[in-house]
């Protein structure tokens, strides 16, 4: 009886341990990133802060600062362990997609440069998604090669000279001229 109890305990431990293994998420150091992930995101281990399980898949959690928004995408620089920042990465997203900022759901269109965002990189496949504000399915998008966004220059030098001081000067000259004429006229008439 005592022996069978002991064996049962060992069996249960083995079974539970086996079942728990996938739940004990890998660390950033030992996560088995797919070759395509490593190819498109070579410094993924350096920017990964933890590995979590979501929807039955492993995801590396990456945090970064928003560098730019627009064209249905956000551009981020991820934080490396040594405090430096990664290359700029683009994550395509819908403008209505909501992320959590200070605990509040905030649509992507209302984000501002400098805000910290969290994204998930699938360990097995080269896809990335912004962390949604609510418990919602991840909107995965392919990881694109690091590419800074620089728009074509369409700006023209603005006209920062106002004509108003010139008007004021002209007005003052005209008033002085009129005053001089009045003076001459009154002197002549008297």
């Amino acid at each position: 009886m005592k022996r069978s109890t002991y064996l049962s305990f060992i069996g249960a431990t083995v079974l539970l341990g086996g079942a728990a293994t996938p739940a004990l998420a890998a660390t950033c150091a030992d996560a088995q990133f797919g070759p395509a992930v490593l190819e498109r995101f070579p410094n993924i281990r350096l920017v990964c802060s933890e590995v979590i399980e979501k929807e039955g898949q492993q995801y590396a959690v990456v945090k970064g600062d928003l560098v730019r928004t627009g064209n249905n995408a956000v551009y981020m620089k991820f934080k490396l362990a040594d405090g430096t920042k990664s290359d700029t990465r683009k994550i395509a997203t819908r403008p209505e997609f909501r992320v959590a900022i200070d605990g509040k759901p905030t649509s992507v269109r209302n984000l501002a440069v400098g805000q910290e965002l969290t994204a998930y990189v699938k360990v097995s496949d080269p896809v990335i998604a912004l962390a949604p504000a609510e418990e919602a399915p991840l909107e995965l998008t392919p990881i694109e090669p690091a590419a800074p966004m620089v728009a074509e220059n369409t700006a023209e030098m603005p006209h920062t000279a106002s004509s108003l001081p010139m008007f004021a000067g002209l007005g003052a000259l005209l008033l002085a001229f009129a005053g001089m004429l009045t003076f001459l006229r009154v002197r002549r008439e008297s």
């Binding site: 627009g70 551009y75 501002a112 920062t160 001081p165 007005g171 008033l175």
Partner: protein, 215 residues
Amino acid sequence: MNHISNRRGDDTRGFARLLRWSEATAYVVGALLCSLFAIAQADSAIGSSRALEDFAAALAPPDQSLWAAGRVRDYEKAKLAPGTPVAVLTVSSLKLEVPVFGQDDEISLNRGAGLVAGMGTPDQGGNVGIAGHRDGFFRPLKDIKIGDLIEVRTRVKVHRYRVTSIDIVDASDKRLLVDTELPSITLVTCYPFYYIGNAPQRFIVAGKYQWSSDT
């Protein structure tokens, strides 16, 4: 003889009439031009102070978590309506505080500064261009120094930039208005600061984003 004298008298009266007409015209046009300047100055002072008040009132944005997407879009469009400041620019070292409007037209620049069309915006990133009149709100820029802090407060965030360069360029030189990968700011005004008419050059202040500026 009398005929010549009458003619001289007519000429003198005609000349006197012309002088009186010129005198009256000069008074009217001079007064109109001075009034125009005075009205513009009053509009500048009142418009700027009202814009700063409006912006302060709008700093507490409504909770949009339950709003429909279309309503959020309409709200965003309304925020960009002419006459509504999108930000407030502050340079503490110069005691400069000015509302920033979404466009750089004459009315906006009379009441504050304006975002340069075709350049970035403070919240969306890129090279943010802000223009102002050198004989108005941006005249204090003549005393700006490298290393000074420029603060741009939007409805979402306070963005801080450190002045990295000060340049004087030709009015047609657009090289300093190019986009940048990382957020940056470019303040533009005319140069020389004291000049009657269209100044031939531009005074450009460039600043780099300060990442440690979270509020």
